[in-house]
């Protein structure tokens, strides 16, 4: 609603909308036709899954103000739920997605319960309980991985209405469609009536309580929705990108990665998740290419990895110092500059 008082009849095609439509057309039509296999496998598939995870966390942290350090665990819940639903129930794809996200939402609510009493760092640390407990659970109980000897399971090929999502392009399109639909939903959510609830709880919990915003319900709903979205991100991560599922892939480092995506991209913005995920996916690739070029392959893989870690860590610190509102606000400034230049000519 954004309470656009006297909502002036906006033109259907603003510049921003045109840009988004062009981007979608490129993503849906251009990429499958022209992008190299490497671009899809190494960049776009992880980008889509991580963007969605970043989006889910942003809903919780950026909008509702509750910091979570356990996002990867909810990705794992989504992935294992989808695996077991496909394996044991054989439900069609949309229902698999629905139930996997519902499972993640339910687990999210359970681990969100401490937020009703805890704040700030106390809450952040308590979300680590989700990270360690769930990772342990999937490791320890063979049932989740169908008693696979190695603990690593290969994700079955998804299929629906006669289409199997086996080829690279079809997996890409499945991920893209999912991410697009969920992003539209979240866009409507955070610009609708829920916006007031979320931001009121984030900005001033006491005032929110006194004016009758249902603080506890808002927090739990934020945990549920955020976990559901991150759960779907986990499904995409393991079914369309890696095509394997293992608990190690959803460790604490992954949780931090998702947090960084949300922060570097810009909290409480939707495009921030995409910008942040783009950076996190592309940056290491650039670094390893760059170091290969500079050192002419003289750097061993281990050192490259350590260097990546250092540079990434430093980038985060630099961002926090210089651009606390993330890539999203840089984009804002750039478009404003471009517009004023275009307006002048």
């Amino acid at each position: 609603m954004s309470l656009a008082v006297e909502a002036p009849a906006r033109p259907l095609l603003t510049g921003q909308r045109l840009a988004i439509l062009a981007l979608l057309a490129l993503a849906f039509l251009g990429v499958p036709a022209f992008a190299s296999p490497w671009t899809i496998e190494a960049i776009l598939l992880p980008f889509l899954a991580l963007s969605l995870a970043g989006l889910g966390l942003n809903l919780l942290t950026g909008y509702a103000g509750q910091v979570s350090l356990g996002s990867a665990a909810f990705m794992a819940v989504g992935a294992y739920a989808a695996f077991n639903i496909q394996l044991r129930l054989g439900l069609p794809l949309p229902l698999t997605f629905l139930f996997a996200s519902t499972t993640a939402a339910a687990v999210g609510v359970i681990f969100g319960l401490p937020s009703l009493r805890l704040k700030g760092f106390y809450l952040a640390v308590s979300t680590l309980a989700a990270q360690f407990f769930l990772q342990w659970l999937f490791n320890k109980f063979g049932w989740f991985s169908n008693y696979s000897a190695s603990g690593v399971i290969s994700a079955p090929v998804l299929g629906f209405a006669g289409i199997t999502f086996d080829s690279r392009e079809s997996r890409y399109l499945l991920a893209l469609t999912t991410v697009t639909l969920i992003t539209i939903f979240v866009h409507r959510l955070v610009n609708g009536p829920a916006r007031i609830n979320l931001i009121a709880v984030r900005d001033n919990e006491t005032a929110a309580k006194v004016i009758g915003v249902p603080v506890l319900r808002t927090k739990l709903a934020a945990f549920a929705l955020s976990s559901a979205i991150i759960g779907i991100a986990g499904v995409l991560w393991s079914f369309t990108y890696l095509r394997t599922i293992e608990p190690e892939g959803f460790n604490l480092d992954r949780s931090f990665q998702i947090l960084f995506i949300a922060i570097i991209g810009g909290l409480a913005t939707l495009r921030g998740a995409f910008l942040g995920a783009g950076l996190i996916v592309v940056f290491p690739l650039l670094l390893s290419r760059g170091s290969a070029w500079i050192f002419d392959g003289g750097l061993d893989a281990g050192s490259v990895q350590l260097t990546q870690r250092i540079v990434l860590g430093a980038t985060i610190v630099t961002f926090l110092i210089l651009e606390p509102n993330g890539l999203s606000s840089i984009l804002d400034r750039v478009t404003a500059r471009v517009r004023s230049l275009m307006g002048r000519t």
């Binding site: 910091v67 401490p114 009493r117 805890l118 704040k119 700030g120 760092f121 106390y122 952040a124 640390v125 308590s126 680590l128 309980a129 360690f132 407990f133 990772q135 342990w136 490791n139 320890k140 109980f141 006491t206 604490l252 931090f256 947090l259 960084f260 922060i263 281990g302 050192s303 350590l306 260097t307 990546q308 870690r309 250092i310 990434l312 860590g313 430093a314 980038t315 985060i316 610190v317 926090l320 110092i321 606390p324």
Partner: protein, 298 residues
């Protein structure tokens, strides 16, 4: 329960208490910084790794034990100063959460840096403390754990008396209690912060040496933060005594749970059990056992 079983329970509990002191040791590094800067310094674990790795690498390169200790101390002090200057100062007046995220990034830089400089292989660290268990009244206690606990307690005593009885220590507390007032009466905030980060570096060194001697000096040393976090939450982020008591509680309950609960669920519960204990307590006391009660003003 017969007598031997009872002795076994005691033995497990004592072992847990002693390893709990080791948790407290890491937690105290956090508390020092939290009290003065209001930052939950996630990089504390990376500092522990960095300290231990620097020390052990120096010793391996033939530097005498005492000299290596002094050099490492100096390096940790410099590291603390550098962090204060390059990360904290530019982020002054920003939200505690922003500072926390910055220390997450910092942790990656320090971890990566430590391993890039000194290599990623595992180093054994021998502090010359015998690891042989000895017996008191039918209970076996690890000699190493006892010495480690004693060292940790000594450190706590030193820190506490520093805060109580020295001028600098008292100004620490003034800053912790009321930053604005402290500035108003002319305390040099930057210098105090720098001193605190240096002190945290020293604590990291002690923790790194003890933990390193037990686990080997390697990357996983930086993960001791994950052991310290539930201790912090339980004890309250701003309380040194809290960190100790919580460390003891978590150490003992974790070991007991491992022995008596672990077999029923397939073991490996030490990764999360401490968090569950901390959470259970927090639901009753949201500010931790010893944390300052937050009285909000409206």
């Amino acid at each position: 329960m017969d007598w031997y079983e009872f002795l076994f329970v005691i033995e497990v509990a004592v072992g847990g208490l002693l390893s709990g002191v080791m948790y407290s040791l890491v937690a105290i590094g956090f508390v020092l910084i939290y009290k003065t800067s209001g930052v939950l310094n996630f990089a504390q674990g990376a500092m522990v790794l960095f300290a231990a790795l620097t020390f052990v690498s120096l010793v391996e390169r033939g530097v005498p034990f005492a000299l290596a200790l002094v050099i490492t101390l100096l390096i940790m002090g410099l590291l603390g100063l550098a962090i204060e200057r390059t990360v904290l100062r530019p982020l002054a007046n920003r939200s505690p959460m922003t500072l926390f995220m910055a220390t997450l990034g910092l942790a990656w830089v320090i971890e990566g840096g430590a391993q890039l400089i000194w290599g990623t292989q595992v180093h054994a660290l021998d502090l010359g403390i015998s690891n042989a268990p000895f017996e008191i009244g039918g209970i076996f206690i690890s000699n190493f754990d006892l010495v480690a606990a004693a060292l940790a307690l000594a450190l706590v005593v030193v820190l506490t008396s520093f805060f109580r009885f020295t001028r600098t220590g008292l100004s620490f507390r003034a800053v912790a209690d009321d930053t604005f007032a402290a500035i108003a009466i002319g305390l040099k905030l930057n210098r105090i912060q720098a001193a605190v980060w240096t002190a945290a570096g020293v604590v990291a060194l002690v923790a790194g040496l003890l933990w390193g001697a037990r686990l080997g000096v390697q990357f996983s040393l930086s993960l001791v933060v994950l052991k310290a976090l539930p201790v912090l939450v339980l004890g309250g982020f701003d309380s040194v005594p809290g960190a100790i008591v919580a460390g003891l509680i978590i150490g003992a309950s974790e070991k007991l749970a491992e022995v008596y609960l672990g077999p029923y669920v397939g073991g490996g519960i030490e990764g999360w059990f401490a968090y569950v204990v901390a959470l259970a307590v927090l639901l009753i006391r949201p500010q931790g056992l010893f944390g300052r009660k937050i009285t909000e003003r409206f």
